[in-house]
């Protein structure tokens, strides 16, 4: 039985964590993810979970503690944002290369500087090459659902990689909205027991974790990581299909909205996708053929599937909530253009930097993007391909 509730995105993720009842949480508070370990430590204090909560003195230590406990064989998680994720950088790569299926709730916030506490995706996008699976969430419901699915993906024997579940700081983390929760037992049964194949506390099979890797084997180990990441794609779909059976909610690698016959479309991530859907509906009511593709899974990047979904689109805007300083656009733009080029696409593509440092994204702003795409469609002239949305004069 679904439980009708109203929760902020942070509360929703904390409840998913309670229902999962992991072995260890190590965390250090940082805005806007602070509430997650705060709520969770209350669950620990009240005896609602039997998790060992490790209050560390920095995010560097938080991820180090996660690496240690996960390697020992304990199901482990943490939460962070912005500079907290940046301070974990070194250990993110270690967690991934040690094949430790840690789960991390990332509440997206701008990286300093200038110092700013509001939403953009520069934190998780900066970690995109660390070897973590990255799944993004439009709202509190998706943040909750994605977290419930996280361990089934990360711990799968064909994957065994750490996983990051991202949502927009403040915009969804601090907004109270309707949500449907699963019963505790449904989540517990869905997630299941953690039975790692190899772990440090296995006295029958001693092993070393994280030793020096020599040039003779380093590349082979990296290739194994890459294969595991590729494998994650199918596992993510399989887990989503099972999740749909208990929740009625359908998830894929990405979501398309009115894309089938769209001439002009955008690719977008997280909360602004909801705002953009309202813009699509407004323009559709005026007879304009517009649609969108919302990224759910950014790592592994579903390049072929995205190219296929966008094959009929004539003009496309990729929306990057993160600067890349490539003078061509942001990281999502680079991925999407690479996917389209490889597929031999002739779709015209512009990249928009938008919403960084918490700049508000309105329905009207997205309509403006579609307007610019129709200008390109009408004139055939693409103009500047690297643009800023809602920039002050």
């Amino acid at each position: 039985m679904a439980i009708r509730e109203r929760l902020s995105g942070n509360e929703a993720v904390a409840i998913a964590m309670r229902q999962i009842n992991p072995d260890v949480m190590a965390a250090f508070p940082i805005t806007p993810s602070t509430e997650i370990p705060q709520y969770f430590s209350t669950f620990v204090a009240n005896g609602q979970v039997d998790t060992e909560f490790v209050p560390v003195e920095s995010e560097h230590s938080a991820m180090s503690a996660c690496v240690g406990s996960e390697a020992a064989g304990a199901r482990t998680l943490t939460a962070t944002s912005s500079c907290g994720l940046a301070l974990m950088w070194e250990e993110l790569y270690i967690a991934a290369s040690c094949r430790l299926p840690i789960a991390l709730a990332c509440v997206n916030r701008a990286l300093s500087g200038p110092i700013n506490i509001n939403c953009d995706h520069s934190d998780s996008m900066g970690a995109r090459d660390s070897g973590w699976i990255q799944i993004y969430s439009e709202n509190n419901q998706e943040a909750y659902d994605n977290f419930v699915q996280a361990y089934r993906i990360a711990e799968h024997k064909d994957v065994r990689l750490p996983i990051m579940i991202c949502q927009d700081g403040f915009i969804t983390s601090h907004a109270v909205e309707n949500i449907n929760l699963l019963e505790d037992k449904e989540v517990k049964d869905f997630v299941g027991e953690y039975n790692p194949q190899e772990y440090l506390l296995n006295q029958d099979h001693s092993m070393a974790v994280g030793p020096y890797d020599i040039p003779a084997y380093y590349m082979e180990h990296k290739k194994q990581q890459a294969v595991a990441m590729e494998n994650a794609k199918q596992v993510i779909l399989d887990v989503a299909a099972e999740f749909e059976k208990i929740s009625g909610r359908k998830y894929g690698l990405f979501e398309t909205y009115k894309l089938d016959d769209a001439e002009c479309a955008i690719v977008i991530i997280n909360s602004a996708a909801g705002t953009a859907k309202d813009a699509v509906d407004k323009l559709r009511a005026e007879g304009k053929k517009v649609g969108l593709l919302k990224i759910r899974v950014f790592r592994p990047f579903p390049a072929k599937e995205i190219a296929e979904a966008l094959k009929n689109v004539k003009v496309l805007a990729v929306m990057d909530r993160c600067e890349g300083f490539s003078s061509q656009g942001g990281p999502l733009g680079a991925e999407v253009k690479s996917a389209l080029y490889t597929a031999g696409s002739t779709t015209k593509v512009v990249d928009y930097i938008y919403g960084i440092g918490g700049r508000d994204v309105r329905v009207e702003n997205i309509e403006e993007v579609y307007g610019a795409l129709f200008d390109i469609l009408a004139t055939g002239n693409i103009g500047e391909t690297y643009r800023y949305l809602s920039l002050r004069d």
Partner: protein, 190 residues
Amino acid sequence: MSNVLEIRWHGRGGQGAKTASLLLADVAFNTGKYVQGFPEYGPERMGAPITAYNRISDDPIRVHSNIYDPEFVVVVDETLLECVDVTKGLKKDGAIVINSAKTPDEIRPLLKGYEGRVYTVDARKISVAALGKYFPNSPMLAAIVKVTGIMDDESFLKEMEGSYKHKFASKPEVIEGNMNALRMSLQEVK
């Protein structure tokens, strides 16, 4: 989209405008609606102007922007009229509710020509009478519920009693005072 009721709150840090917006989301949720309650975050300090928002709808809400053209505005602190454009974008067929001892006719000249409905309620007087302290958010919450008509007085009071019992579980002595503040405000908003 068009059937979404949008409300904007103006307050000062520490007055509870954010809490009031979340409580309003709570009570609307309990009537079966889809809701959003969220503050606009920045480097807040006690006393600095803050903004919070509500959306209330019969259908799921997808938009995640701030609110620019609200149906209703609540001003939790009268001194904000001097420094914040509180009626900006406020729809003419909407209304503004201001915490003030003045009458609506006395306060209208301060509203930069706003032509819609103007309501006032003396949340300071009510709060001090009911709670012995100045917490304007409970009276302002009752006033906006009355003005918007999103639910009748009795259902509202019943919902709020439940919310306060939860919110003030560790200090139940303040529940009755807050309930009285709500009742007085429902009567006195004009």
